[in-house]
Homo-oligomer: 330 residues x 2
DNA sequence: TATGGTTACTAGCGCGCGCAAGTGCGAAGG
DNA sequence: CCTTCGCACTTGCGCGCGCTAGTAACCATA
């Protein structure tokens, strides 16, 4: 077609056009330490590179330097919390400023004959949750030097580390304040998020431990097919408040309650978690826990960059602010 | 095995360990055409490669061959239709089987100093919607040979090409069947999806063109802040059926209607689009258009691969099956 | 026996770049 | 005056791989 720039401009082209050696050009372009380049030359090189439209060939850079400047973020295969998207933007931007590219991937149980950590040879592989031992081994075996989190699932959960532990406490305390005493924890049957569900359930149980007047049913997983049954079970057992694992589960409970003619929140109060857009779309609108993580993305970027550069990791985590958005279901 | 394998195994290692030359090893590993390799040698090489845990260095491959075997999918910066996720899986898998890796990115208006198409040098850049002229130029300028779709936004839309044009017709016809005659098209004010909104609006208008007994209001954008006002406007104008741009907009309309004491569907019927999980969570549950695209991912993969290999593009598009899921709002 | 063709390889270049190890030169120091 | 040093560069190797251009050995003919 028109305007075919088939041949890319290389550093050698820049050097030749300037009557300099390739090395000098390289030194300027990389700010190589230990080299003294007069300002005049430096500027000539930069100007010529720009004029010719020079772009470094990253494959060659990766081959020569051994570092790809790629950071691979492995996303969980369950739907992300709504707010995660903005954190990803923040992360991507912060890495970009440092000259690193963020690539995200979602592993699928069946597939991916050749996972991206082999293809891309990222400097760092970053997971939102700890990797299981087998996958950790797999990633390490493919030559990736830095994996975050570095320990397999089991030990401390990364959700703990990121301080996302306030939600269930807020949900419970709010319901207690509203005068509810017999609560149910509505969990998700999705096996992929079993860890997170278990964590929130545990936190719910712990929060209620010191409240002798309150009771909790904590073993119910709610799905489309059993929501109606669960709601009537609960009502029969005197449950008057539901702590939902997340907003989706809360919506399921709410829907079943409304269809059964149960008044919400009078007969049954419901509190969700994550404050997805869904929460304010429902009628009645859903009370939910919103977690704002100022600088979460930037924090993850610092974590990854410190690993990539073998420098000290950030000392403090991101600021997290969890609060309950009270709406009509409670 | 359980040690720090700092140094990766190269093809030269395999060759040395076998007493062969690097070239022979290369020929076997690449199935290089025009080379005669006895089966015995071929097997020795493959076995030794496996034994040593050889993995090709993709940076070196990219440098030497000039092809990165990476396909970059540029996602829109507005939320994806729910079903897109499974198509992505399908796409990724199909590409993987062909030895290509799929990398996805979402460009952000402000950011990304160095976009991924420069860093990764993908063989193909794939967009879900046409690129605007400026971005198309930008991608081409960075040396990417194949961009899909190859034409800038404006001409034929990719949604057209993919045959996703049935939805609005189904919405309208369903409402007419239900005896509704005065319809409103509820659009989204989000400027990022203006093209898609305009397309669905246009299809709605066209479908109603031949129905002299039906009327349409097509100029209303619904947001959280004006949903209530819009609903009363419509009712005052005698509107009895709403064609929503998507399920989110439909939910907004539904919520406003319920709060205003409007009976749905008796006073106002509502039909959404995309059949997101939201649709069946609402009370009353939302009628919506579901679009199943058998093999959409595989089709996109074929499209990308044919470009990468400079072979003929697939002749027929994916099978798309749009149908209306009738629920309680209509 | 010379000729041609096939088989089973190997030698080695080049992809574009980072960077270590020079090299020539003018100026400062003795 | 000679030596040393810092400056402003250049030469050139190596990263791992794809692939062209051989080459030596072994047939199969004429």
């Amino acid at each position: 077609m028109a305007g075919t720039t088939v041949k890319r401009v290389t550093a050698a082209d820049v050097a030749r056009s300037l009557g300099l050696s390739r090395a000098t050009v390289g030194f300027v372009l990389n700010d190589t330490p230990g080299q003294t380049i007069p300002e005049a030359t430096r500027e000539r090189v930069l100007a010529e590179a720009k004029r010719l439209g020079y772009r470094a060939n990253s494959a060659a850079q990766a081959l020569a330097s051994g570092r790809s400047r790629i950071i691979l973020l492995v996303l969980p295969d369950w739907p992300l919390e709504y707010s995660m998207r903005s954190h990803l933007d923040e992360l991507s931007l912060a890495l970009d400023e440092a000259g690193y590219s963020l690539v995200t991937m979602t592993p699928h149980p069946g597939g991916q004959a050749r996972p991206l950590w082999e293809t891309l040879r990222p400097d760092v592989v970053l997971g939102m949750t700890p990797f299981d031992a087998r996958r950790l081994e797999e990633i390490r075996a493919s030559g990736v030097q830095h994996v975050i989190p570095p320990t397999p699932a089991g030990a401390a959960s990364s959700a703990d580390e990121l301080g996302f532990t306030e939600g269930p406490r807020l949900q419970v305390e709010h319901l207690l304040e509203r005068g509810r005493a017999r609560l149910a924890f509505a969990s998700s049957p999705d096996p992929r998020i079993a860890d997170l569900v278990a964590q929130r359930r545990r936190l719910t149980v712990e929060t209620l431990r010191n409240r002798p007047h309150a009771a909790l049913r904590a073993e119910d997983a709610v799905s489309v097919s059993n929501a109606t049954a669960k709601v009537s079970e609960w009502l029969a057992a005197g449950v008057d408040g539901v702590v939902a694992y997340n907003d989706d589960i809360a919506a399921l409970v709410l829907g079943a309650a409304l269809r059964a003619g149960v008044r919400v929140p009078e007969d049954l109060a419901i509190v969700g978690h994550d404050d997805t857009p869904l929460a304010q779309l429902l009628v009645p609108s859903l009370s939910s826990v919103r977690i704002d993580s100022a600088g979460l993305g930037r924090y993850l970027a610092d974590l990854a960059l410190s690993a990539a550069r073998a420098s000290a990791p950030p000392t403090i985590g991101p600021e997290t602010d969890a609060h309950l958005v009270v709406r009509e279901t409670s």
